[in-house]
Subunit: 300 residues, 2 copies
């Protein structure tokens, strides 16, 4: 059985680590929160200091926030790549610019380490179930080496090319859509409220009409229920839409709708909603328009 380490035991990483564990692999979990590492060991994760076990690993999954954290895990002061054995594979799961993914692939290659550009999609629930979608690209050797991990964590692996970059590009396009769709759901739901359309009736009707989206069907019920428990937090979107616009700017590509949606998420963060569920972007519209969302009247 292969040995795997997962770096980053947040909502997505913890689910990935547990899925690999369920598959019977020896699995190490690393996180800046010692409590998360202890929790994972209680679930059956194997304890070990990275410098002691790195050269026994077959695969490393990096499930951190962004490019900077990915680079720190791989090549920082205590970076893991120089400690890995040749032929080991890195699965890089954060949303990052395609150019960054290509640079990481090249730096890994100088160490004889394989790199799979492997951004993930599906949310915390599917992560825990081992049913993620992965937008993957890399060499055939990287895909081969990553197969035991991919089999354990993913329902769908899109094979998007034979080098790093296309995986991250597709993920960025998906995030552009997902982020805009959440903010647009909030815009339309609150717009409807100004005309007397209640949020529950809005969801009931629109989810069966041409205005529906995956995100609307998934997130609008949170507003109806007044439940902003963070399944995916507002804070994700300034980060991910920021990456999209960074890539766009480098390509001299104008993305005005993404820009407008980003401003709404930035406004939500400024209102102190960063750690709430991303459906809370509706509160930006509600406050601006003087509307009371479901559950809000109870907060006063």
């Amino acid at each position: 059985m292969p040995k795997t380490a997962v770096f980053g035991l947040g909502a997505m990483g913890y689910g990935i680590a547990c899925s690999i564990l369920r598959d019977g692999q020896t699995t190490f979990g690393f996180d800046i929160e010692p409590a998360q590492m202890a929790r994972f060991c209680e679930e059956g994760g194997t304890e070990g200091r990275i410098e002691d076990i790195a050269d026994t690993l077959d695969a490393v999954a990096v499930v951190v926030l962004n490019a900077a954290q990915t680079e720190a895990v791989l090549f920082g002061e205590f970076g893991v790549v120089p400690m890995l054995k040749k032929g080991a594979v890195v699965l890089a799961c954060a949303t990052v610019p395609p150019e960054f993914a290509r640079a990481m692939e090249a730096r890994c290659a100088t160490q004889g380490v394989l790199y799979l550009d492997a951004p993930i999609s599906g949310g915390a629930v599917k992560s825990a179930q081992g049913r993620l979608s992965i937008m993957a690209s890399g060499t055939p050797e990287a895909f081969d080496a990553a197969k035991p991990v991919l089999d354990a964590i993913a329902e769908t692996v899109f094979q998007l090319g034979d080098k790093a970059g296309p995986g991250s590009a597709m993920k960025a396009a998906n995030q552009l859509l997902a982020g805009v769709h959440i903010a647009t759901m909030a815009e339309a739901l609150t717009f409807g409220m100004t005309q007397g359309v209640t949020p529950d009736r809005f969801v009931e009707v629109i989810s069966k009409c041409a205005g529906s989206s995956w995100m609307l069907e998934n997130r609008a019920p949170h507003i109806v229920d007044g439940d902003y428990t963070p399944l995916s937090a507002v804070n994700i979107w300034p980060k991910d839409l920021g990456i999209v616009l960074e890539i766009a700017q480098a390509a001299q590509f104008d993305a005005p709708i993404t820009t407008a949606a980003l401003q709404q998420f930035n406004a939500a963060v400024a209102m102190g909603l960063g750690r709430e569920d991303d459906a809370a972007v509706a509160k930006v519209y509600a406050r601006s328009a003087g509307l009371t969302l479901p559950g809000e009247d109870l907060d006063i």
Copy 2:
């Protein structure tokens, strides 16, 4: 069997008229294009001058472009409402401001005529099949009187309230989403192209991911095929998103994402694309970014 007249034999109205005809009702069709009226009579529509037959009608479906055309049909120089018998019903199917719908309901009431606020959704194909979705509101009497027509043309009738207004409000919210989703699909697809993601791969992957929308699944294939035959034209969106923003402004509601999407459709019209399929909004992005969409290289 009831007698019904359909005003407006465009893509949606022609399908509605044919659906009523298939149901066995005596059906008159009126349009500013005599050729469309002749075509409908060949299909079995009944000939007649409106002033001769108006007082025999049980129902009038108005399937025109906007509020101004609706008002002209109902109360203009040759307006039909003053000619109708008491208890006849008007089904108003255009996308209009809720306030306009309420005003029309009140004016019809002074003539003893019932009014159903009945915007339609589903597109030309479902219209022809009698399988539209209708976002309807009006008095119980209006619903009763409209039932034979609704049964003939709709798969789903959402009953949204007992007066005119909520139907048009829900339709406006749906159009907000649908229009933004089309433009965002175009933004994401062309953004992906700048990163080497081909349109066909984009559709294949994103339609299975959280970034998907009804409109993306429906319209993005038109771009992949390079086929801009207008199933629903670019010109619809400056009109419908304009109505959304008109309603929003009256409610002092700020809709920045809708505003951004409207600008892209306006740019498409300015490029001479108004009569192409609305997926042609992708050409605005492609031209700005120097990208060649599928099929475009053949046009040169």
